[in-house]
Amino acid sequence: MPETQETIIEIKNLTVGYGDTIVLQDVSFDVRRGEIFVVLGGSGCGKSTLLKNMIGLHRPQIGQILYDGQDMVTAEGAQRRSLLRSIGVMYQSGALFGSLTLMENVRLPLEEFTDLPDPAMDLIAAMKLQLVGLKGFDHYLPSELSGGMRKRAAIARAMVLDPQILFLDEPTAGLDPIISAEMDQLILQLAESLSMTFVIVTHELPSIFAVADRVIMLDRRTKGIVASGSPAQLRDTSTDPWVRSFFRRETIPAVMRQEDRPPHE
């Protein structure tokens, strides 16, 4: 792993939510350059909300989100655009543009943000599609592809401008085990060969064990981080029974079950 101790994203005292509903309170963590960082937690614990705040779609209620020292929350105009250029996002269902072919989807950021000539854009788009294993599918429409292929095409589109950080929202959810394993391979290969930093939101255990350098685990009860470390460490040494159960895929006593409680406060 080309992982270093250098911090690339720093989250400071982040409180996020919708209106009066607080989803996460006073959360702080950092992501190091070149690592594969996984955000996980049970359903409804705020993983996706955290992601949407990190990529600038939502504005947090309190706190700072620093990319290389620049705050995404307060950035405006050109600074914000350059920050957004340094990240790529793959959405859960791909979010490919349905009326464009795969190649046009991948080419779109190149057309908008570079002055490259047409043949150059075609070649680069074809190269990116080959990198995610979709060579020969250039002319397919997203609706003609399987879910896994759509996710891979979405990764190709997210990284066509060589972002330093790639955010993946549930990259393996709903895929069969073989395709999931291929996705994990792809992520590892990209991280290694392109030295990209990955921030992945998921709750697929096999994927977490396969790719994650470090995980943080969010919890609905405390509205914050309940555990952090490498996945094996959390599984074997965590003192929190809920965390241990999560990693061992066990059921937990009903009194502790989070999903059954309505949001209080």
């Binding site: 349905g98 009326s99 190149l110 570079t114 070649l123 002319h139």
Partner: protein, 385 residues
Amino acid sequence: MNPSIIKPSATLPGDICRILEHSEETLHLSLAGRLDASVTAQLWYPLVNLVENAAPQLLRLKADDITYCDSAGIGLLMELARRQLKRQGQYSLDGLKEEFSHLWSQYQPKDFLEIRSSRPQPCCLPEETGRLAVQAWDGMLDMVRFTGELTLALLHAARHPRTVRWPEVWLVMEKAGVNALPIVGLISFLIGLIMAFQATIPMRQFGVEIYVANLTALSMLRELGPLMTALLLAGRSGSAFAAELGTMKINEEIDALTTMGLAPVPFLVVTRVLATIIIMPLLSLFANLMGLVGGAVVLLSLGYPLISYIHQVKAAVGLLDLTGGLAKTLVFALIVAGVGCLHGLKTRSGASAVGDSATRAVVSGIILIVIADGLFAVAYYFLGI
């Protein structure tokens, strides 16, 4: 270096790319600095032209001085390598820094010998014509199939009225009918007003301004009231039906209905068609009234009392004119709702397909309404209505 081989518009930026050796067999280039998207954009055509024109047996690239190279830069190197391979020449790339050679080693130039454009292009006119003909034929077949299916579903609904989902019919009636009252009223009022006003000027020359009432009443009741209502509804509700059903189609909701054993036509289309058939004559009646009010405003302003306007209108038009106009609206309603739903159900994929469906629904709805109106005019003429 032979200057004639480079296009005048495309000069090679000397600080980035230098020619170290240029002989019959070998072209030796050195690249330096940042190879990012903007530099690559400048370099692309000059460099490709240079190499194409020189057509060397061996292309050597010296990459020691490249300080940064992203996918765009790798793309440029790939372009040179693959062109060299296509020409069955040799290439060598030396001294690329380790971090970039990682990136380079992800790809094989032989995989990219043929680069396709981003969208399949029809080869020639016959292919394009054939494609359009097949599409038009499919469209006709769809229309026939849909009409048959809708007719059966409507007959079934007439025989078993309890199977119709009436709550949904009421809802569509409210959305497409009640909520359309202001716009229908406004447009018809203005049409009546403008028509009466324009007619006054020539009529005054003959001193027969009162006949403006006849003109307004006849044209509103027989023609403009129903027609304007139908056109407004095609724009307002036909497009809405197409967009709603189209979104359901791309979200697989239509598939879900089908697998539940609920055919989309009886379940979704019949309710909309019934609702439109019920509200269109009512809206049209309202449009007639508002048009007459518009005419009345003009005549009142000319000094005629309201009662003489009313008498004149009563003398000019009969029940047959009114019902003849309203009968047309039933057909218009069928066209508006049917065409809207048909195009909605035919939506392919993607958000823009929904927009296309809505556009098609409005355009073909309006065309069919106008054609139907023409046919009615001919039929009424021969029937003496």
